[in-house]
């Protein structure tokens, strides 16, 4: 599509955005894959419409505040990417665009508090833990709080698991086949520290030594996706340093973090760290991808009874990292598991980073639909690879009184190894 974006005007990210716009032919195929278009039915709230809006803002022909509501409504789920025959790298447009325009965007006070709170707490486990505890105390007075804060509280679990401090090294428990570094995640460490334990145990049982670099921090994806480029760059650089060492892979178990690291080359584009970022991104993979690459897994005992498991594609795993087959393959390899699909699986569950905080109505609608589809699948357990989706889907399943349990793929593998599935 023709555009008149000045490629030089927007620094290192200018050409990236211009090229993405140029690649779009406006065919509209992306509309079918966009959850917000499905919800709202309005062209400006579709990927194609948003590309036009970003193009126009970058060209300077329409004001940012006219485009902003539609761009803010984008989940960043990247559902449009696999749907696009022209392979427009939508993520390369929306994230830099947000980074560029974040500061210029006028927002309401409540909205600002919300965004700031989320960014100041979620990436830092200790702060988040504290905030979550405070939030828990506030739950009885939830009705008195502004709407913006209420949704944040609604998402908090009633009970937080005990804090978990991870060791620096977990040696393989069988003959060693490899050595990886684990990105421990931030919100995940507070909400579900068990996922890291499960990851470590499954890897160890398969002969993999797991190193947990102690100086690692948040991957920066949260900041990047709401347009805080500076913060994202700082976190990226710190992590590249923290993970220096000789590893077969850097393993992530939260799809959001994994995709965030894959965006490091973009985040650090035009800086001295760009090349290191590319190397780092190449080395990073989801735990399911790493496990599947090992070939045969250590034998898993037969379960006492067969179980039906549904697999939910986390957007940041399936769309952003193209990881669909490996988790399914792993789950199918567990004796006794019948794997089923979730209908309309390509649609986001509405979690999408801080989306359920920023756009609660759409997030809730998508969450309800996803819960319905999961229930409809007839599974007693739903597996996925992202903490955000887990919180969102669990929340909506609970609201519907469903007993379907939400588990991370590695938790299921670990439980199977322990004979507790």
């Amino acid at each position: 599509m023709r555009h008149e974006i000045n490629r030089e005007q927007y620094g290192a990210l200018g050409p990236v955005m211009a090229d993405a716009v140029s690649q779009c032919v406006h065919c509209g195929f992306c509309l079918s894959a966009c959850p917000t278009y499905q919800e709202l039915g309005r062209e400006p709230d579709s990927p194609r419409g948003r590309i036009i809006l970003m193009k126009e803002v970058l060209e300077g022909t329409i004001p940012l505040d006219s485009a902003a509501p539609h761009l803010d409504a984008c989940l960043g789920c990247l559902g449009c990417v696999p749907a696009c025959p022209s392979e427009v790298p939508y993520g390369d447009l929306i994230s830099p665009f947000r980074a560029l325009h974040q500061s210029k965007q006028p927002r309401s006070l409540g909205n600002r508090i919300k965004r700031t709170l989320a960014q100041l707490t979620l990436p830092f486990p200790n702060r988040f833990r504290l905030a979550a505890k405070t939030g828990k105390l506030a739950k009885p007075i939830v009705g008195l709080l502004p709407e913006a804060l209420r949704v944040m509280l609604d998402l908090l679990p009633d009970e937080l698991p005990a804090a978990q401090r991870l060791d620096a090294v977990y040696p393989a428990t069988t003959k060693q086949r490899g050595r990886v570094a684990l990105l421990a995640g931030c919100a995940q460490q507070v909400l579900a520290p068990d996922i890291n334990l499960a990851t470590i145990e499954v890897l160890n049982r398969n002969g993999i030594e797991v190193v947990v670099p102690q100086r690692q921090g948040c991957c920066g994806a949260l900041s990047w996706h709401v347009g805080n480029l500076k913060a994202a760059q700082k976190m990226a650089i710190e992590n590249i340093k923290a993970f220096a060492g000789n590893f077969d892979a850097i393993v992530t178990n939260a799809a959001g973090c994994g995709s965030g690291i894959h965006e490091y080359p973009l985040i650090l584009k035009g800086t001295e760290h760009e090349e290191a970022a590319s190397r780092f991104a190449k080395q990073t993979m989801d735990v399911s991808v790493y496990l599947a690459s090992l070939g045969e897994l250590a034998p898993i005992p037969e379960p006492t009874q067969p179980i039906t498991v549904a697999y939910h594609d986390a957007c940041h795993l399936a769309n952003a990292q193209g990881v669909r087959a490996q988790p399914r393959h792993l789950l199918k390899s567990v004796p006794g598991i019948t794997l089923v699909e979730v209908r309309d699986g390509h649609l986001c569950c509405g979690s999408a980073g801080t989306y359920n905080i920023d756009q609660p109505e759409i997030a809730a609608s998508l969450g309800q639909q996803k819960a319905d589809r999961v229930i409809e699948s007839g599974a007693s357990l739903v597996a996925m690879g992202n903490i955000g989706c887990m919180t969102q889907i669990e929340n909506h399943l609970q609201q519907k009184g469903s007993h379907v349990r939400v588990r991370h793929t590695v938790q299921i593998l670990r439980d199977a190894y322990q004979g507790k599935l």
């Binding site: 406006h26 509209g28 025959p85 022209s86």
Partner: protein
């Protein structure tokens, strides 16, 4: 949304809050459709959520003389939904309810914003689907499909959108709400539904649409074949057609398109191929087993270097994903492209492709070719870079050469994308000024103020058509003799029409009630006879209106082809023109469609005594209004037909009939529904209500027919079993219906055609069986419940009228030897203002008698 400042605030005031926006974000997002080379910002955008809101918006536009462009998902490739700067966009995406899905009658009623694929998804649990499959089917809407008469890869066998839309409720640009067609695939009167489909948004907005659903093919046999030369692929297509096979789809892609699709979808196309051919057979497994061997033999005789047979659904999906994403995938090769949509006669495909390559070479632009080879529909993708000054113009010039080439070869400028804004200057190459004038007049009947999608389709857009001179009807001496005046050429007919004040054309008057008028001179076209062109390899023929059907049947038979709508009264001498005017199809219409689904072109004389051409001579054509369809069922009240072009198909190898005795009508109707929904692709499903016998006909060899009927028995657990019938015998119901000789023993019998549903047919059957009518009525339910042929003693007509009123069904009297009735229509009917306006647009001087309805 910010407050509105423009005149739109009065529109906003009559709609719920938030429906109207003139924010830059809305105006920018809607500025173009799938063809970004053309864009314009509208004044504002309306996103209505109910039909009532659409109605209010259109009426407001009519009142304020403000143009509107209705739009679905904006996937048009002809700029058909590009906004106008002094008007609004009405986005119909929120009208997305599937209001009814009736699996027994195989119909769905949907709103215009419903997505094409969602219809098939909703129908899937019943084993049904909606056949038209444009490449954008995942997102394009039914409303948009209707506007542009969208096609897809599977048009060859099942036709385009217009062949699957059977009824609609519309709002015209003047604000009139009208209903066309209904819930049956058969209808009475001029086919306004057919006219509305493909009108490019120039008539108004379809608010509710009734779609025909068909059974999902049980089996697909999808073959992907690689060729080193494009011509070899083209030859292979001809070889397949000549073999008598009727594939569901035949597609060719050229190397550049293969490369793009392969890069986008990893679809596994043959490496190093200059051309890839996809052939897909579909149908019941028994038949496919046989046909795939046939196909294999044909392909083996071509210069194929690689043949891949899809082993499973996933591989078939990959093959089609590659094809369907080809257009957009080209976006990777080039920042901009124009997709062309010309049609050429299939036998000239190779020649056309060579010329296009040559044109591209001369222009210095790259051109990727993807096309629906089965119906000669080319999609050259012209690649260019809009940021390089002059390239858009260069691309348009190349596109223009290609379009002109298609017209010169006897084809069309568009097969399925519509004329839109992009090709509007080329429409006049296809139609002469007189024919263009008629189209202008028909448009004005719907939209006198030019506010509905203005600027599209007609050359130089919206500049009013030069008002053609209209010879006033000055004829005075009408000699109303009893025997018709004979004419033997279109020119004679034209002169004769000018000579008389009121005329009605007839053929051999095999349906006398339809030509019983007392104020018009009858002109017989029976001497204007003969097949003017027959192209077996194109699946088309043209013939004068007075040509007897028997002659056509015999001629087609020599090439083992036939008229799939199974015309009636063939041996009684019926003519082609009379059959079109009466709109009659036989039981065989069940499989592929009725007369309306096979008519391609019509030449006619209008009320001004001007000879007009409409439609085309190729199997696929979406240029201009579909006037040929309008004449189907018009009973000669709109114009006088001179020459007609039809699509034909390979004849089934053999036909075998079987009958099933039923205990009662209810059970029979249920069995008919099950048979029609099944996988067996039956040629006909009829029900002789008096004998309580269901009759089915299977188009296959005896052995396969036997296998199929055995499977039907197993599946439906019918008891007693089907019994085979000898088709040559007179007692077969097909013969009786063919001659419309349902009640031979009753002298004053009246025979009529009543479009129906299974429910209505069942009720009519009960009614006929009740004590008073037994023996005096005979009911033959045809086309799986879609039409009732009822013969009844003349004295019972008033009772029938009453019954039809209760059923809300109307009938057309076809036979009435004793002149029992004076009007050909019985039961409740309604003439709407728009019906009269369209009649007046074609016949401005009231030359032809008034509408039958």
């Amino acid at each position: 949304m910010p407050a509105l400042t423009s005149p739109l605030h009065t529109l906003a005031a009559i709609l719920p809050p938030g429906r109207v926006s003139e924010a830059p974000s809305y105006c920018a997002a809607f500025e173009s459709d799938g063809l970004t080379a053309f864009r314009k910002r509208p004044m504002g955008v309306v996103i209505p959520e109910t039909q009532d809101e659409v109605i209010r918006t259109v009426r407001w536009c009519a009142e304020h003389n403000l143009p509107f462009v209705a739009r679905g998902s904006g996937t048009s490739l002809s700029g058909g939904s590009m906004p106008v700067s002094d008007g609004i966009v009405i986005s119909l995406n929120k009208l997305r309810a599937i209001k009814k899905l009736d699996p027994n009658n195989r119909i769905a009623v949907v709103e215009p914003g419903v997505i094409n694929l969602h219809v098939s998804q909703a129908a899937a649990p019943h084993g049904l689907y909606y056949a038209p499959d444009p490449s954008s089917q995942k997102i394009c809407t039914i409303g948009g499909n209707i506007a542009f008469n969208s096609g897809g890869a599977h048009c060859l066998k099942y036709g385009m959108t217009s062949n699957h839309v059977i009824g609609m409720k519309v709002i015209t640009a003047t604000g009139e709400i009208a209903e066309f067609g209904g819930d049956s695939v058969e209808s009475l009167g001029a086919d306004m539904t057919g006219l509305f489909v493909g009108s490019e948004g120039l008539f108004g907005i379809a608010l509710e649409i009734t779609l025909r659903l068909i059974p999902q093919p049980e089996c697909f046999h999808t073959v992907l074949i690689g060729y080193h030369a494009l011509r070899d692929a083209g030859d292979a297509v001809s070889a397949v057609i000549d073999s008598g096979l009727l594939p569901g789809a035949m597609e060719i892609m050229e190397s550049l398109a293969i490369e793009a699709a392969e890069a986008a979808t990893a679809c596994g196309y043959p490496k190093g191929a200059e051309a890839a051919l996809i052939v897909e057979l579909e149908g019941p497994r028994e038949r496919i087993e046989l046909e795939k061997q046939q196909l294999h033999d044909v392909i083996a005789g071509t210069n194929a270097f690689e043949t891949v047979v899809a082993a499973d659904d996933a591989q078939r999906g990959a093959i089609w994903a590659g094809r369907k994403s080809a257009f957009s995938a080209v976006g990777k090769l080039s920042p901009d492209f124009l997709v062309q949509d010309g049609v050429v006669p299939r036998k000239r495909l190779g020649e056309a492709l060579v010329k296009i390559q040559q044109f591209a070479l001369e222009s210095g632009l790259r051109c990727a070719n993807v096309f629906h080879a089965g119906d000669g529909n080319l999609h050259p993708l012209i690649l260019f870079d809009d940021s390089i000054p002059g390239q858009l113009e260069q691309a348009e010039a190349l596109a223009g050469r290609i379009l002109t080439l298609c017209v010169e070869m006897g084809g069309s400028i568009t097969g399925e994308h519509g004329v839109g804004i992009e090709k509007r200057e080329y429409l006049a190459q296809m139609y002469d000024p007189a024919s263009m004038n008629v189209m202008h007049r028909v448009r004005a009947a719907f939209d006198p103020k030019h506010i509905a999608n203005p600027g599209k389709m007609f050359p130089s857009g919206d500049a009013a058509a030069p008002e053609p001179t209209c010879t006033p009807n000055q004829a005075s001496s009408d000699s109303l003799s009893s025997s018709p005046i004979e004419v033997d050429s279109p020119e004679q007919l034209r002169q004769a029409i000018g000579d008389f004040k009121k005329v009605l054309c007839v053929g051999r008057q095999t349906k006398p009630p339809l030509s019983r008028v007392d104020d018009a001179v009858l002109i017989s076209t029976q001497a204007m006879s003969g097949i003017t062109e027959y192209e077996p390899s194109e699946f088309t023929f043209s013939a004068f209106a007075g040509t007897p059907l028997a002659e056509i049947r015999d001629q087609l038979e020599t090439r083992r082809q036939y008229l799939p709508f199974d015309p009636l009264l063939v041996d009684s001498g019926a003519t082609l023109g009379g059959t079109v005017a009466a709109g009659l199809s036989g039981p065989g219409r069940h499989r592929y469609g009725g007369l309306r689904d096979f008519i391609l072109g019509a030449t006619f004389v209008d009320g001004d005594a001007t000879l007009i051409k409409s439609g085309g001579r190729v199997v696929k054509n979406a240029a201009g209004f579909d006037l040929p369809k309008l004449f189907v069922g018009s009973c000669g009240r709109l114009a006088a037909l001179t020459e007609l072009t039809f699509k034909v198909f390979p004849k089934p190898v053999e036909l075998h009939s079987f009958s099933l005795a039923c205990t009662d009508h209810e059970a029979a109707m249920k069995a008919v529904a099950d048979l029609a929904r099944g996988r067996w692709e039956l040629d006909a499903i009829d029900y002789d209500a008096n004998a309580k016998l269901i009759w089915i006909r299977i188009g296959a060899t005896a052995a396969i027919a036997k296998q199929i009927v055995d499977d039907i028995q197993r599946t439906l657990s019918t008891s007693p079993p089907f019994s085979a019938a000898d088709d040559s015998l007179q007692e077969s119901p097909w013969q009786r219906l063919q001659q419309l000789d349902l009640l031979p023993a009753v002298e004053d019998s009246v025979t009529c055609k009543i479009p129906s549903s299974l429910q209505s047919a069942g009720k009519l059957a009960q009614w006929c069986e009740s004590q008073e009518y037994r023996g005096d009525a005979r009911l033959h339910v045809s086309a799986a419940g879609a039409v009732c042929w009822l013969a009844i003693r003349g004295t019972l007509l008033p009772a029938l009228e009453q019954q039809l009123s209760q059923l809300q069904r109307a009938g057309l009297v076809i036979c009435d030897p004793q002149h029992v009735t004076t009007k050909p229509v019985i039961g409740p009917t309604l003439t709407q203002p728009i019906d009269l306006a369209v009649q007046h647009a074609i016949d401005r001087v009231d030359r032809f008698p008034g509408l039958v309805f």
